[in-house]
């Protein structure tokens, strides 16, 4: 994998992330997020995590984002965030503070993530992940099912028209 490819994908990811944050239109934002998720999936591939790349595309970019787009279509037909923003000053304050955060994190990355001699290639296939998932990570795996059940119950409670 060459650096050039990485840089291209990274640029795409950053651009789409900025698009999400800066574009007024929520639908556009959702599409930017899909692009971002896709480029991150590509990065997973470059890191040797094929299984995650697939899940990212199927679950995240596929299922979750469809839900988002659906909600946006239902709730705001077209326009949003128009009108004067009385708290514009506060909002814009986020930019310098956010930049500061980015700076701090990048500093840490520079200082902390030195070049470590790569160990044996990490198995990223379905089998390797599954093996861990059903042995060491059995408890969290089961916990996930409870989490999803709880979320489902919660959504039912909120979304139901009755009561």
């Amino acid at each position: 994998m060459t650096h050039a490819a990485f840089l291209v994908i990274a640029a795409l990811a950053v651009a789409s992330a900025l698009g999400l944050v800066l574009r007024r239109n929520a639908i556009h934002g959702a599409l930017f997020l899909v692009v971002n998720l896709g480029s991150v999936a590509a990065l997973y591939l470059t890191l040797g995590a094929e299984f995650l790349a697939a899940v990212q595309v199927i679950v995240y970019a596929g299922a979750i984002m469809v839900l988002f787009v659906f909600a946006i279509m239902v709730l705001i037909p077209g326009k949003e965030e128009t009108g004067l923003d009385p708290r514009r000053g506060w909002r814009l304050l986020a930019l310098p503070v956010g930049a500061l955060l980015a700076l701090q994190l990048l500093l840490v990355v520079r200082a902390g993530v030195g070049p470590v001699a790569p160990a044996a290639a990490v198995p990223g296939g379905v089998e390797a992940v599954a093996r861990l998932l059903f042995t060491r990570y059995l408890l969290p795996f089961e916990l996930t099912s409870v989490l999803l059940l709880a979320a489902m119950v919660g959504v039912l409670l909120l979304a139901r028209r009755r009561v």
Binding site: G29, I64, F68, L158
Partner: protein, 100 residues
């Protein structure tokens, strides 16, 4: 091979953009998508660090984060819909009934 630090740097940038997005936007849906962006950045860091550490635990973590994100999206959208049903508007700045 691209060093992990590049990936982590990218993840830091994406994370910060997500953070800014949560603060600057008024539409809860977009704020929520920005939060997804933050989670996504964390995932990227997990995978990159996983390769550096030479184990698959990072990838497992990402798997769980995705499951959590799915649950979070479901609940979050339901809450947003509930608010919308009551107010017919969608801006977090409307939510200042309770303060001080």
């Amino acid at each position: 091979m691209v060093a992990e630090s590049w990936y982590v740097a990218l993840s830091a940038v994406l994370f910060s953009i997500g953070v800014v997005g949560v603060v600057v936007r008024r539409n809860p849906l977009v704020m929520f998508m920005s939060i997804e962006l933050m989670l996504n950045a964390a995932n990227l860091a997990f995978v990159a660090f996983g390769r550096r550490a030479g184990n698959a635990d990072g990838q497992i973590a990402v798997f769980f984060v995705m499951a959590v994100a799915a649950a979070e999206v479901a609940v979050g959208l339901a809450i947003i819909v509930t608010v919308f049903r009551l107010r017919r508007r969608l801006s977090v700045d409307d939510l200042s009934l309770m303060r001080w």
